[in-house]
Amino acid sequence: MQAAMNTKRNLVTAALVAPAAAWLCVFLVLPFIAMLVFAFGERAPEGGYQAAFTFAQFANLPTRAAAFWNTLVLAPAGALLCLLVAYPVAYYLAVKANPRYRLILVSLVVVPFWTSLLVRTYAWMYILGSRGIPNLLAMIGIEDVRMLNTPGAVLLGIVYGYLPLMIMPIYVSLEKLDRRLLEASADLGAKPVSTFFGVTLPLSLPGVMTGVALVTILLLGEYLIPQLLGGGKVFFIGNALVDLFLQSRNWPFGSAIAVTLVAVVVVVLMVAMRIAWKVAGTRQVDLV
């Protein structure tokens, strides 16, 4: 009887999990295996994949060192910059804003998402391009300012594009912060700054960690912003992959780069999670 019920429950669980598992299998695991196989193969003379077993693709990786460098530096840097801009905004929305207007203000953060990132990034192309801000600066005598196609432009685009994704998790964690804890801190003699670093910030770390992880991971695959705002100069791995797969049709090399990126991300995330766990891990238990 008991066994029968357990079997039934297991069947229900299996039925509920099956669609997601099938989805992951078909669109994540299988492609990844294919990519892994491609990575050890050779480029067919007319492009595409030709079966082989060689490490040549991986030996070639240093030729894309710049893309790796840009991605692995600008993605975390962009995420951190995003954090610096997002935290005060989230803090204002969750703590300082008049509750009556809070909902409106929060939706203002999300509204830009209703327009394609492509369109919004194009707008930045014009703002930063020679007919945009540099043109205005030239009018007041500051000539030859270059903005577009620089790492700065890419960073700006990244911060602009990903800001809402950083604001929301931080906002949520600050919003559920118990105001009485802030009063208790003040009551015990903590100045507002000490209260922020002693109570508010530590208790919002889960939101900060979620935001940073979310934005960093998405940025590692970013290709649109470097393409439009970085020109050919600030190259992300995403751009390298587009070139290799669509232009030069060198699938094996592209696969090798993609596999390497996944490996690097997994390692970096594991280390980051380990550190974050040490700093704030036990705190999370209390909060979530």
């Binding site: 009485r180 009063e183 003040a186 209390d286």
Partner: protein
């Protein structure tokens, strides 16, 4: 100004308004150094607002609040020599017990050495009998233990005044009684002023040496617990503090008696003063004795009996006056132990036990 040295807290014509809503007004209160004062009143009476004005979480709209003789208007919470035990404690969930207690010490400037902080935190924890619990996390502590942590955290800075916002409300009855005694002895040990906010009259009467009864944003009576109970200044106080029987009555000019609604006349009690005309009389349930044999001034029928162990509560339908509550010692009737529901019984009392209020 001369009172500044002897009063730890003073409210001088304090009012607090939120827009057009008046939370409290006309608050004048002086709490002597080392006193244990209770702000007692039903929810919404403004007692918590008063406490928060002492703590610095609210600023008065009018008047001044003095702490330790210093006017506190505009002084932020973190610069006030008071600490608070919050309702539901507001302990920091990301810190362990000892870190919670040490939090206030770490804010002190000039800084205190880490070893000294640890020593004082341990000392405070020992004081609330939580020595050895320092490394526990807050969520691993029971409600009663969290209450002690909150207490230790609040006394570690040696405040002039300790504020307690319904500190025992979340505890079960038995634990509450234990904590009442502990709070009292802690207060004597520390010798600092305690201000307790509570809606529980028993708690206020048993713990404090000064009770300040509040109603709808005003103070209605200040005095020692016994005085509040024995000589309530108004019908509200008589009703709110302890149980009371209300009787409609009348005092006519030129007579020396008071006539109850059922026509029974009694000698005018001392508390009547100059009251004339329609009045309401309050009579404590324990001021009434039950007598058999029909000699008492009031007669009635027992409707319910609640046996409480050491005493018995009777509900008695008094002829012409309605329901009365009578608390009797269980051996108050000499013939048999208890009066039975349905039994005819007499109620006797000293007319001076009546509190007369103009209706």
């Amino acid at each position: 100004m001369t009172s500044a040295s002897t009063n730890d807290i003073e409210f001088r014509s304090v009012a607090k308004r939120y827009g057009s809503v008046t939370a409290v007004s006309d608050i004048n209160l002086a709490v002597p150094k080392g006193a244990f004062v209770a702000l007692l009143g039903p929810s919404g009476c403004g007692k918590t607002t008063c406490l928060r004005m002492i703590g610095g979480f609210e600023q008065p709209s009018e008047g001044t609040v003095h702490v330790g003789g210093q006017p506190m208007n505009g002084v932020p919470a973190y610069r006030r020599p008071v600490n608070m035990v919050f309702q539901q404690y507001a302990l920091f969930p990301h810190l362990d017990v000892e870190q919670n207690v040490a939090y206030g010490l770490k804010q002190m400037r000039p800084r205190i050495a880490a070893a000294e902080i640890a020593r004082r935190a341990q000392e405070a924890l020992a004081m609330v009998r939580l020595g050895g619990f320092g490394k526990r996390r807050i969520h691993e502590m029971s409600g009663g233990q969290q209450q002690r942590v909150a207490l230790a955290r609040a006394i570690v800075n040696k405040p002039k005044v300790l504020l307690l916002d319904e500190p025992l409300a979340a505890l079960d009855k038995k634990l509450r009684t234990v904590m009442q005694i502990e709070l009292q002895s802690l207060q004597r040990e520390l010798g600092i002023t305690f201000v307790l906010v509570t809606h529980d009259q028993e708690e206020a009467l048993s713990m404090s040496d000064l009770v300040c009864v509040m109603s709808t944003g005003r103070i209605v009576q200040i005095g020692p617990p016994q005085e509040i109970y024995d000589r309530p200044a108004s019908l509200f106080v008589a009703d709110f503090v302890g149980k009371t029987n209300r009787i409609a009555a009348r005092i006519d000019a030129g007579t020396n008696s008071i006539r109850l609604a059922n026509g029974v006349g009694l000698a005018k009690p001392a508390s009547a003063n100059g009251t004339l005309g329609a009045a309401t009389v309050a009579l404590r349930p324990e001021a009434i004795s039950l007598v058999r044999g029909g000699t008492a001034t009031l007669q009635g029928t027992v409707t319910h009996r609640i046996f409480l162990g050491s005493s018995v509560e009777y509900s008695i339908e008094v002829d012409g006056l309605g329901d009365f509550l009578v608390t009797a010692d269980r051996r108050s009737l000499n013939e048999s132990d208890l009066a039975e529901p349905g039994e005819r019984i007499g109620l006797s009392f000293d007319p001076n036990a009546l509190h007369v209020f103009p209706a």
